[in-house]
Subunit: 141 residues, 2 copies
DNA sequence: CCCTTACCGATAAAAGTTCTCAATAGCATG
DNA sequence: CATGCTATTGAGAACTTTTATCGGTAAGGG
């Protein structure tokens, strides 16, 4: 299980620890693009002695090794995404949850790079709006 | 000067203070999408007694009243943009500066909304890459 | 099984932001 | 122009999110 993950960590001279695996599983298990604190809460029942610092440390390492992505939607909060395939995000401005949008276009980058001559390594597209749950509660906006 | 700004603040029952005006000018004067601290540093020479809390307070109020936009590119930092016209951003992953990209497409929203049935209020598109200055220094990537 | 060292938990510290509160100053009114 | 109401200010405490420190632990190669 998680052969790619283990191989990539080994290759980078990183050890396979219970905490590291659980942090990764924590992000993967929560489809809601959890914050570090949410990952901590999710892992704690299975690993009651885990430290918040360990969660931060491993989130950072997993991101460095390209096994997780960071996303920045709200002020001051970093969220994590285990979905490495190219995709966009939908951010509900009411409940703050972030969900995946399966579409993606590399063409956007190419046309921008052509127009500006700039060196592009990627792009992020995030839609804002109200998710269906929040639309029911406050149909005002 | 700044008739729209003043009118909008009056309408919202907000007072026109030197500090508030200078905070707005600070964001507008820095084309680099400054953080709160950078706005504070920019305003301080003209208003040596201004408090950092006042800068934060007014950035928040100006955003609430729709006179500034917030953008979230890096981890943990909120940047401000006085350019209210619809546009995208280019984020240099080396020097962390953010610049404006003049293009915009409302069509993206419409097609996404049509496909998903979700209620969309906006979208943010940010390109990552190396700006021309940083490309010269580190042509590695 | 042993040794090296990456990693852990606990905690302090740093960075970014918001809150509290007494004093001040916009500005509407007379 | 003087007065009163209250939104705003400056200073600092407090809070939130994230990173650094450090002695002890355990992963994994030999």
């Amino acid at each position: 299980m998680q052969a790619v993950l283990v191989d990539q960590l080994r290759k980078a001279n990183r050890r396979i620890t219970v905490q590291r695996m659980q942090v990764f599983e924590g992000v993967k298990g929560l489809d809601s693009h959890p914050s570090a604190l949410e990952v901590f809460e999710a892992v704690k029942p299975r690993l009651p002695s885990i430290s918040l610092a360990t969660v931060y440390r491993n989130l950072h390492i997993l991101r460095l090794e390209g096994l997780l992505r960071e996303i920045h939607c709200d002020r001051g909060i970093t969220r994590f995404d285990s979905n490495l395939s190219e995709h966009y995000h939908f951010h509900c401005t009411s409940c703050q949850r972030v969900s995946d949008v399966p579409s993606y276009s590399r063409e956007i980058e190419r046309s921008f790079s052509e127009k500006t001559g700039l060196h592009i390594s990627g792009h992020h597209l995030t839609f804002q709006g109200l998710c269906n749950d929040c639309l029911k509660v406050e149909p005002s906006r």
